[in-house]
């Protein structure tokens, strides 16, 4: 057990930090209970209690602790849960704020964090060098899917994905602004104040809970005469009070896309003890900004030396943040290993707070004069020209081994923490995402913004501006306003290095980590170069350096320098890997927002949907439409229901909802001429009051769509399309009308949703609808097959089609959608009394197949011509132009032996073929067999008393009467090739 509830941790320093003990919260880590203060991250709270061992590494299962105090953290990844369903793996301890009752667990260890069996990988590490997986698991081939992959998959990854559905809500907002500022440190805040003063609409974004940026770690900088951090909070308050400014904290600009478009992820409630039900967990902002000011600062790098990954080793700036912001000392006797002056300030702050500084080990011969003088004043040992060449300790560092550069005399110094700094890497991620071009600053060994591709500007640390006064000036200029602001800091910093330090060079085999999260060492990168990887893109993929979820924020520059040294080429020549969004991991929930469950995709329902549901319909999805599939009665399965429906339609009649068919109104003096160009048929010969089946081909001659077109007047056509084809057919028509035939006077309107369509099919169809139709003689003589007329049905204006997709006497009643349900109900009341049925899409498919009617997209596949499918008659021979006229003459489309649509009947009538099954002439030929085609449609036909099928078969029409074979997994099915009409071959019923 830990101490009493009010024990805030033995490593809290009285008087240090900005947190107050007024509010505390309790959380558990691996089952043990701890107390945190308001404002603590999980990392700072654990360090306050002296907990440094936080996780195990990815590959070698090495003990790992907290490396940073920010979003760049590669090591301290934890599993954080609020309740059973709200559990998230791989949460950065340095970002997650403690909330009361948080249950936090370490990852990638078994059975416990201190004793982890997987750590045997560390002893086996000579076998796990870079590229190990690529080379080892090659042979035998079969073992890959059965043995290697499952084992690797189990061992790979750090956290365990949650299994329950995410109960949280995620929101989504769009915003526009004149200026978006990414980062609210000194530079971002100054730029925001400047821009806001001009009256511009400003959005200021920062990923931390409060503004301040690098001021979090700082204790001595003053701005406007005030303590820097306090000034920042005041500036934010002033900005928040302005009507033209929005300040978003806990919000990450994760992506910078084209034309000033940015993606922001706001963490709304993850830090709250008890988030209300009315707040989302996270919110995605999609912002279109007129101008972007990038003020993302820079990230400190670690030093690359042997065993640089033990718990207790961390970035100097992190130690400074934990002290100056959280009031936590990272140890009692701290060593410093640095190549940069900034780490000295961390040592000074710790020393003043009462922490012993074992020594500052500086690999440079000449650090900055000012920091050296201050170190002397504070009595801190400084070893210039020295390096840390190794560390000791098992679950926490207990010593550092120090040697004079180039000398083998070593000495061990006892420490319980080691803070390191190799200098600062400007955060050019967003600049680079905006497609700006970087240049290499040779003197300071860093990449800086050079050529801008969008309306944006970088200011401050991310631009390489080190001097505070200069930084403030350029931020004011970037904001476009006027402002007087004076900032003072105690020390100007110099120094920095990239690449491996002393004792980790090419002549060694030590484990000097470059990428902590993927366990990539300096040795691995050198191995990649020796194995022939010369491009940084190859080296990255071979070693996986920078490919973990931290995306190499700490490791990329070191990796590049080590590779460049091995290749003996300058760094810019080795290249820099591309910075891609997201800057830090973004949850799927944030990206998905409300688009899940019922809101995932729109659902389209016909006006009669509810009546069909009440009649017991099962529905199927056709595009976004819900279509009635079949109407089972009590005790019926699908087969029984479909058989009954098919029989009833032919014996009596059936009522079918055809509302989903696409409908386009083609109007204008040139409407017939336009349709002549868009369809293969001739339309000028169609008289008003008649309709005709039309085929539309693309310019290449292949069938694109089909449907019945009715001519209502000289200048008005009612065009129907396939259900799925409606939008693309309209687009296709608009394209030709606007760009190829703009001289034609035609207007196109989509009327799909304006009309409810009720098909009544079967011998009693006329009897059913006759009493409901007014103002029209629908006798066979007055209104024969393929007629269309405007009339009223039950007093509702209607368009009545005499047409059939079943081969029976049939009508399609089109009424305005709002009247669909009422007319449907009236028709069904009459139909039901006469013994008719409701039928769905499945019976519709069977009935049309019995007649050999085509379904575009099922019996065609985009490589089928009208002639291939037996509809050559629909192609006008007289027209001099239509879309597809030239394509149809291409040599391959007129050759013999093309696949043609034919009927198939199985030798055994009860065998129903599988759609998609392949067809061969000789089932005994050696494999691979010569395949002649495939089955496109296959059903049990109750009306024929046998199975029927359609198929595309090479030279099919010349094979009618012959036997072909369909080899299946367990048997071979013999079929006879027939024509495509299986029922009522004479076609008399349709004219009944």
């Amino acid at each position: 057990m830990s101490g009493p509830a009010n024990n805030l941790g033995a490593f809290r320093i009285k008087g240090a930090g900005r947190l107050t003990p007024a509010r505390t919260s309790r959380f558990t880590f691996d089952g043990k209970s701890y107390t945190a203060m308001e404002g603590d991250t999980v990392a700072s709270a654990l360090l306050a209690h002296g907990v440094h061992l936080i996780g195990r590494s990815f590959k070698y299962h090495r003990p790992r602790g907290v490396l940073s105090a920010g979003p760049e953290e590669p090591n301290a990844l934890l599993d954080v849960s609020r309740d059973a369903a709200r559990r998230q793996p791989n949460v950065r301890a340095t970002v997650q704020e403690v909330f009361d009752g948080a249950k936090i667990s370490s990852q990638n260890r078994w059975p416990s964090l201190a004793f982890d069996v997987g750590a045997v990988n560390n002893l086996m590490s000579p076998f796990f060098a870079a590229g190990f997986y690529y080379k080892t698991f090659m042979w035998p081939k079969e073992a890959w899917t059965k043995i290697y992959e499952p084992i690797i998959r189990r061992a790979a990854g750090l956290g365990v994905a949650p299994t329950e559905e995410d109960p949280d809500r995620y929101a989504n907002r769009y915003a526009h602004c004149d200026v978006l500022i990414a980062g609210a440190g000194v530079a971002g805040l100054t730029a925001a104040l400047s821009a806001a003063a001009t009256g511009a609409e400003v959005i200021l974004v920062d990923e931390q809970p409060e503004v301040g940026g690098a001021l979090h770690s700082d204790a001595t900088t003053t701005i406007d005469g005030k303590n820097g951090f306090d000034w920042a909070q005041g500036a934010a308050a002033k900005l928040k009070a302005m009507p033209n400014v929005r300040v978003l904290t806990r919000t990450t600009v994760f992506g910078y896309y084209n034309h000033g478009f940015l993606g922001l992820a706001e963490r709304v409630s993850d830090h709250l003890d008890r988030p209300g039900r009315d707040v989302p967990r996270e919110r995605l902002w999609q912002v279109r900004a007129g101008r972007v000011i990038i003020a993302t600062g820079s990230i400190e790098r670690h030093m690359v030396f042997a065993n640089n990954d033990r718990p207790g080793i961390m970035l100097a700036s992190a130690a400074r943040t934990f002290l100056n912001h959280h009031g936590v000392a990272v140890g009692r006797r701290v060593g410093v290993y640095t190549a940069h002056d900034s780490a000295y300030e961390a040592a000074f702050d710790l020393k003043r707070a009462g922490v012993a500084i074992a020594a500052i080990v500086d690999c440079r011969e000449q650090p900055g004069e000012a920091v050296l003088a201050e170190a002397r004043l504070l009595g801190i040992d400084v070893l210039t020209g020295h390096s840390v060449t190794n560390t000791g300790g098992r679950l926490r560092i207990n010593s550092m081994t120090v040697a004079r550069n180039g000398n083998f005399d070593i000495r061990k110094i006892k420490v319980d923490a080691l803070i390191v700094s190799a200098g600062w890497t400007p955060s050019v991620h967003l600049f680079s995402q905006s497609r700006g071009k970087l240049r290499y600053d040779e003197a300071q060994q860093r990449f800086l913004p050079d050529i801008y591709a969008q309306d944006c500007v970088s200011v401050g640390g991310c631009k390489g501006t080190d001097d505070l006064a200069e930084l403030i000036d350029e931020a004011i200029t970037a904001g476009g306003g006027r402002l007087a602001l004076v900032g003072e800091n105690r020390f100007d910093w110099t120094g920095g290095m990239i690449g491996a330090g002393e004792g980790a060079g090419p002549d060694t085999t030590v484990k000097a980590f470059v990428d902590f999260q993927h366990d990539v060492t300096a040795k691995d990168i050198r191995l990649a170069v020796r194995e022939g990887m010369h491009s940084i893109e190859h080296i990255k993929r071979f070693t996986t350096n920078g490919m973990a979820s931290d995306q190499g924020k700490l490791s990329n520059m070191h990796g590049l320098a080590i590779a460049a040294e091995m290749l003996d080429r300058p760094i810019p020549k080795v290249g820099l890997t591309t910075f891609r969004a997201p800057y830090t991991p973004v949850t799927y929930g944030t990206l998905v927002g409300h688009s899940r469950g019922d809101l995932f995709d729109p659902t389209r329902k016909t006006p009669m949907h509810d009546l069909e549901a009440a009649a017991g319909a099962e529905f199927e999805d056709v595009g976004n439409w819900k279509r009635a599939w079949y109407f089972p009665r009590r005790g019926e399965d699908m087969v029984a229901a479909v058989n009954r429906e098919c029989r009833t339609v032919r014996d009596v009649a059936g009522v079918f909802d055809a509302s989903t068919l696409g409908k386009i109104e083609v109007v204008g003096p040139d409407a017939a001429q336009f349709l002549n160009l868009l369809y293969t048929n001739a339309w000028d010969t169609l008289k008003p009051g008649k309709c005709r089946y039309g085929i539309m081909t693309r310019e290449d001659g292949f069938i694109y769509d089909d449907g019945v077109v009715g001519r209502l007047a000289e200048d008005r056509f009612h065009v129907t399309t396939t259900t799925g084809g409606a939008p693309r057919v309209l687009n296709h028509m608009e394209d030709y009308l606007q760009t190829e035939f703009p001289h034609l006077k035609v207007w196109l309107t989509s009327t799909t949703e304006q009309w409810a369509v009720i098909a009544v099919q079967g011998p009693k169809a006329r009897e059913i609808i006759a009493p409901l139709v007014e103002g029209l003689d629908i006798s066979n003589e007055a209104f024969p097959h393929m007629s269309v007329a405007e009339c009223t049905v039950m007093g509702v204006p209607a368009r009545l089609f005499r047409m059939s997709f079943t081969g029976e006497l049939g009508f399609e009643v089109n009424v305005p959608a709002d009247y669909g349900a009422a007319v449907w109900q009236a028709i069904w009341e009459r139909a039901e009394r006469m013994g008719a049925c409701l039928y769905g899409t499945e019976s519709m498919h069977v009935l049309r197949a019995e007649k050999g009617y085509l379904i575009v997209g099922q019996d065609t596949d985009g490589t089928v011509t009208p002639d291939d499918s037996g509809y050559g008659w629909a192609v006008s021979k007289k027209k001099t132009d239509f879309v597809g006229i030239r394509g149809l003459k291409r040599p391959d489309l007129v050759r013999d032996g093309r696949k043609q649509l034919v009927g198939l009947v199985t030798n055994r009538p009860s065998d129903v073929l599988e759609e998609g099954a392949q067809i061969v002439a000789d089932p005994n030929q050696p494999k691979p067999m010569t395949m002649l085609g495939h089955v496109t449609s296959a059903y049990w036909s109750e009306n024929c008393g046998r199975s029927i099928a359609m198929a595309l078969v090479a030279g099919g029409r010349s094979l009618i009467g012959q036997t072909l074979f369909i080899p299946m997994k367990d048997r071979t099915i013999a079929v006879e090739v027939t024509d495509t009409v299986f029922f009522d071959k004479e076609g008399g019923r349709i004219h009944g």
Binding site: L576, E699, D700
Partner: protein, 113 residues
């Protein structure tokens, strides 16, 4: 997400409202029924797919519904101009935007050799 200027609406609108519609300035031959196989292949199948300045068609499908032409730089993904359908190919003002803005695999690997 791109910001596209519709020459009919005369407004910059979000890419969500538009749909790309292939290479621009390919006119359907007036005597299409009479052209040779080679001419048909050239008209229907072959596209330039150029790197850099490209002329293409877009449709403001969720807006005014009009097809129009655009000159776009495929390297920077920047729209250099848009103009109405039927107008001849427009000269694009010199911007020099076509230069390589990011390190590419080809470039770095080329250097490595």
């Amino acid at each position: 997400m791109l910001l596209i200027h519709c020459p009919y609406c005369e407004e910059d609108r979000s890419e969500l409202e538009f749909r790309w519609a292939g290479e621009a300035h390919i006119a359907r031959p007036e005597n299409i029924a009479a052209i040779s196989d080679e001419e048909f292949a050239e008209f229907f199948f072959l596209r330039n797919n150029e790197k850099g300045l490209t002329y293409e068609r877009w449709r403001h499908i969720h807006g005014c519904g009009r097809f129009f032409n655009a000159a776009r730089d495929t390297v920077s993904d920047r729209f250099l101009m848009t103009y109405k359908a039927g107008l001849p190919k427009q000269q694009v003002p010199e911007t020099g935007a076509s230069e390589k803005t990011v390190e590419t695999y080809e470039a770095t690997e080329g250097d490595a050799r």
